[in-house]
């Protein structure tokens, strides 16, 4: 069993990662909440034009990315479980999460490339502004998250067992779940939800 130096661990209740991390998590959720409401208002007020652009979005690629990111999150959750048990193979699980996250980025680039190729760019319509900006801000989160995961992968020993602090691994996993959660919201709002206009 690896000794824990976790400052935040208390006998009753446990805050994943460390308390300060949640400033970032809830702060980010709050701001994305504002962004989502802004989008929803636009979707209602500008229903016809939005739907016309929205129909050009491939739900298949969006769904593929959802599955990639959810599976990636599953791997990182299991990395945390394995690290708690002191088991080897944590690094393998982190690498799997990184690989799936990288595949998400690749799919995103293909998707963006397709839209740009067919002439729908940042400024083409208000829907595509939302689409490129929101997925772009989300992609920035994915890249930061991948950086964090790569850094955690360096903190395993030769058997692949976790040697760092649990707060670091948990905190990284929490951030990766945030990235996942935001994507599920974006997928639901931009790809799936269509406003039918006035009822």
């Amino acid at each position: 069993m690896i000794e824990t130096h976790d400052r935040t661990e208390t006998p009753r209740g446990h805050i994943p990662g460390e308390p300060g991390l949640w400033v970032l998590i809830f702060g980010d959720l709050l701001v994305f909440g504002v962004l989502f409401v802004t989008y929803a208002v636009s979707l209602v007020n500008d229903a016809d034009a939005m739907r016309l652009s929205q129909e050009k979005l491939g739900r298949g690629l969006g769904l593929a990315n959802t599955i990639l990111l959810l599976t990636s999150s599953w791997f990182i959750a299991h990395a945390v479980i394995a690290a708690r048990r002191g088991a080897p193979g944590v690094r393998r699980l982190i690498f799997a999460a990184i690989a799936l996250g990288t595949a998400f980025v690749a799919v995103k680039i293909v998707e963006w490339g397709g839209h740009i190729g067919s002439g729908d760019t940042l400024n083409s319509s208000s829907f595509f502004t939302f689409y490129f900006m929101y997925t772009g801000i989300h992609l920035l989160h994915v890249l930061i998250g991948l950086g964090v995961l790569c850094w955690t992968a360096t903190q395993c020993d030769s058997r692949g067992a976790w040697t760092g602090s649990f707060a670091v691994l948990e905190g990284s996993a929490v951030f990766w779940h945030l990235v996942d959660l935001l994507w599920v919201m974006i997928f639901a709002l931009l790809y799936l939800l269509r406003h039918g206009g006035a009822a």
Binding site: L35, T38, S126, T129, I137
Partner: protein, 238 residues
């Protein structure tokens, strides 16, 4: 002991350069230039020029206040850097990065004041000329969020690498810096849009970075005053 006390007094005084900077900035933009909230990027040259001519003195005095703000903020920045250097110790890489980007950022504040001064200096100039300078002022107000992102991420990295049992600066403030850094980034794109949430008067490119920055400067004063009270610069934890 007495000496330590007076040093704390000097540090506290330095911290108040931060709110003074913010106050000058806000007075310039709001009651003087009336560009808080910003005018719409879709305004015609005649509309922008009329706004500048109507508030000519406000623009000129506001320009002076912005340039003054860029000149008096340094003690505040220095206190932040002293604490960051204390955390990083002998190889203060990210403290230096933070300091350099801070310096660059204040240069853009100075240039912003200068651009608005140019816009208002000759009210008889053509509408297009006045709008061009005023637009430059608006860009200099919002776009420097790009280097700002580097600065906030560097500050966050310093604070989160502090391995002392009692950190010099609170860890939540490190995470707050990461948050501010990530959310400042959308300010970078205002050149692309004239309407919508990412235009320079939009919710994502103006209001969110503005509110987030307000949270940052308030939190920074609170944690700096707290760290000065604890005399954290004299902390001798390994």
């Amino acid at each position: 002991m007495k000496q330590a006390g007076s040093r704390q007094g000097a540090l506290r005084l330095c911290v108040f350069a931060g709110p003074l900077w913010g106050t000058l900035f806000f007075i310039a933009l709001w009651p003087l230039m009336h560009i808080f909230p910003p005018y719409s990027p879709t305004w015609s040259a005649a509309e922008v020029a009329a706004h500048v001519r109507d508030n000519q003195t406000g623009f000129l005095v506001g320009g002076i206040l912005l340039m003054t703000a860029a000149a008096i903020v340094w003690p505040f920045i220095t206190v932040i850097l002293l604490f960051l250097k204390k955390i990083e110790g002998r190889l203060p890489i990210w403290t230096t990065v933070t300091g350099l980007v801070f310096t660059f950022g204040q240069f853009t504040v100075f240039m912003c004041g200068l651009a608005f001064t140019m816009a208002a200096f000759r009210p008889e100039a053509s509408n297009e000329m006045i709008r061009a300078w005023s637009d430059l002022g608006m860009f200099l107000l919002v776009i420097p969020a790009i280097p700002g992102t580097t600065q906030y991420l560097a500050t966050g990295a310093v604070i989160l690498q502090d391995s002392r049992a009692k950190p010099i600066l609170p860890r939540w403030y490190g995470y707050l810096n990461l948050w501010v850094g990530i959310l400042s980034a959308p300010g970078a794109v205002v050149g692309l849009f004239k309407v919508g949430p990412f235009a320079w008067n939009g919710i994502a490119a103006f209001w969110i970075p503005a509110v987030v920055f307000g949270v940052w400067i308030t939190a920074t004063q609170i944690i700096l005053l707290g760290a000065i009270k604890r005399n954290a610069l004299a902390d001798e934890q390994p």
